[in-house]
Symmetry: C2
Subunit: 378 residues, 2 copies
């Protein structure tokens, strides 16, 4: 028996009906979304809106993988599909009818031409495992993941993890995008770095494809080629935002917060230079939405600021604060801060990143915040 949403979609017409406008590409793209948290759902809404508006480019229906959970006495997928709202992670925002919550990840991934991957960093490994064996040789992905992977082998960016684990060509979307604002269609910019895969042939796609999928009147897209820079910036700004929250919690004022953000920007640029030499452009950090603008908006009032602020005020362990404040969501700056410190320690480069080190020491090693200015003094 079809679900109410499937029935509604049927009633609204055949999603694969021939489009009245010819596509400029060889085929229509089927889009899937992996992940349905706050940001995951907001981005799913964007792509579903565009798939609905541009039947000549995209298949109408978009499946979004939802890690099944119960909310009150209903499954979250059933709630989303019946009420068009992700009441748990993006409440009070109506989702397009052509966005389908799907608990079986393989049903989303298999057959998708373009996969939007948008998960908390810590779930990436297991989620990739669940998609193992799917043939992605003619698919592409856009990673909205924020983080880095550090191991004995060194540091990996998360879009590289996707490429390696799944053989799935992967770009990056990152920008000044507080999810709740984007979801409410308040004007934002973003950066998408998506070099076309080498196996694309004439007519398969061009640089404009990705803009067609993500651009909305309220969501402006800058296309970049710096996958590495966008990825690093998106990961590390969360650690800087944790630091900005510490400064706020200590009651130090806007000058101090700006000083931490400035130093943070410098260390993000340096992180790129030191660990990915020649692979990212400094301008990405200083002039793109994925760079300085994301840093600014994340430090203005994202989850990491909230956690840092509460830590400075209460001294409670970060994980406790995260649970108390974030309703099941995670503050990625905590986990990324740990990975960064592991990397800096292993490579003996702590001294080159005094702000990142000081933030770590404040939240994990009982360093008093009053030491911060001297630690990061030029």
């Amino acid at each position: 028996m079809p679900t109410p949403q499937e029935r509604l979609a049927q009633l609204r017409g055949n999603e694969d009906a021939p489009a009245s406008v010819a596509s400029k590409y060889n085929k229509r793209f089927r889009v899937g979304v992996i992940g349905s948290g706050n940001w995951g759902t907001a981005v799913a809404k964007i792509v579903a809106e565009n798939c609905l508006e541009k039947p000549y480019l995209f298949h109408r229906d978009v499946k979004m993988w939802v890690r099944e959970e119960e909310v009150s006495d209903m499954k979250l997928t059933d709630i989303i599909n019946s009420y068009h709202e992700n009441v748990k992670y993006l409440p009070e925002v109506t989702l397009p009818f052509n966005l389908f919550a799907e608990p079986d990840i393989r049903k989303v991934a298999d057959g998708a031409d373009l996969l939007v991957i948008n998960l908390p960093h810590q779930f990436l490994g297991s989620v990739c495992d669940q998609m193992k064996g799917i043939d992605f040789s003619k698919s592409s992905a856009i990673s909205c993941l924020k983080g880095i992977n550090v191991s004995a082998d060194g540091v990996e960016l998360l879009h590289d993890v996707v490429e390696k684990k799944l053989g799935l060509h992967c770009g990056v979307l990152s920008g000044a995008n507080i999810a709740s604002e984007v979801a409410r269609e308040r004007w934002s910019e973003t950066t998408i770095a998506f070099p076309l895969p080498s196996w694309y042939q004439q007519g398969d796609a061009d640089d404009n494809l990705i803009k067609e999928l993500f651009y909305r009147p309220y969501f402006h897209v800058q296309v970049s080629d710096d996958v590495c820079g966008a990825s690093i910036s998106g990961a590390l700004k969360n650690v800087v935002a944790l630091g900005a929250g510490l400064v706020e919690g200590a009651g130090w004022g806007d000058n101090a917060k700006a000083a931490v953000m400035r130093r943070g920007l410098l260390e993000v640029i340096m992180f790129g230079n030191v660990f990915f030499p020649g692979k990212c452009r400094p301008e990405t950090f200083t002039t793109e939405s994925a760079g300085v603008a994301d840093l600014i908006t994340s430090c203005a009032g994202g989850r990491n600021v909230k956690v840092g602020r509460a830590f400075a005020r209460t001294g409670k362990p970060l994980e406790v604060i995260e649970k108390e404040l974030l309703n099941g969501q995670s503050a990625q700056g905590i986990i990324t801060g740990r990975e960064v410190m592991e990397l800096l320690t292993a490579t003996k480069k702590e001294d080159e990143f005094p702000l990142l080190g000081a933030i770590y020491d404040i939240v994990h090693n009982k360093l008093h915040i009053s030491n911060l200015p001297e630690r990061i003094a030029d």
Copy 2:
């Protein structure tokens, strides 16, 4: 008859008593401050603190020129000298006893080795006129001025105006420095660009002198050589902050504000490239306190944000808002925005600076703010 403050200073000892530590320079420097507004008084406090602490480098007493005015039934200079507080422009902050308010500008300027100039842009011309004829051939100045001068001859930076009008070698201090926070000794950073004057000889001074004068435990100084970049950034960030205020007033959220700040940073960099080619370094804008950090703190909550916010909410003329909100202080973004637009129009470069143009059109030409995103879209 000595004033109470002069008497106090006498009682505290001879300000020119030999210092117990030898100076590394050929002589002690006498420091004067021109300007006593909010920021003027805050910086005067800093230099007076250092002059008091370092008698081997500086003469103890610092004169600050105050444009005389009555507050209740007292002269402002008398209030400052009797109560050590600038009740009009920096209330509730105690000033060092060795900082003297002086209504006669020539008594401050004449004989000063280092002059800190800190005025609203619009008073610079007449203030320079009042100092005409003074021999500044062996003096130097630090400009804390924010603005540009546009005329039929083109655009001038304000420290250049000082140099030309007075024959006074002039550097620039600019940074993420909301005055009230600095005055309350909340940690801040700043950038000082002060190339030594060509006539300095061995032992006259070195690059450290300026740090000795301005560095405080709560006020960290980065020394730079980019006078031009620091000056441009300090001027134009006020216009961007006006734009950030508009976005706030329209209720658009942090992503939108970050987008405006990002675009603003780009246009500030471009302004340097276009109008002062080869004279400033892009890194000043993106990595110094005078650059991105000042932009951030100014857009967080300075005077220009307040004015922009109120304009978006009420539509009242800027000058009316300025009077209502700022207690006699000025929002420099208004006047600088006008100068910038005059320059862009005269040089037919409006199209290259869409954000600066849009901000001007919104506040002066009834452009609705809803047009802003399209106007600045890449």
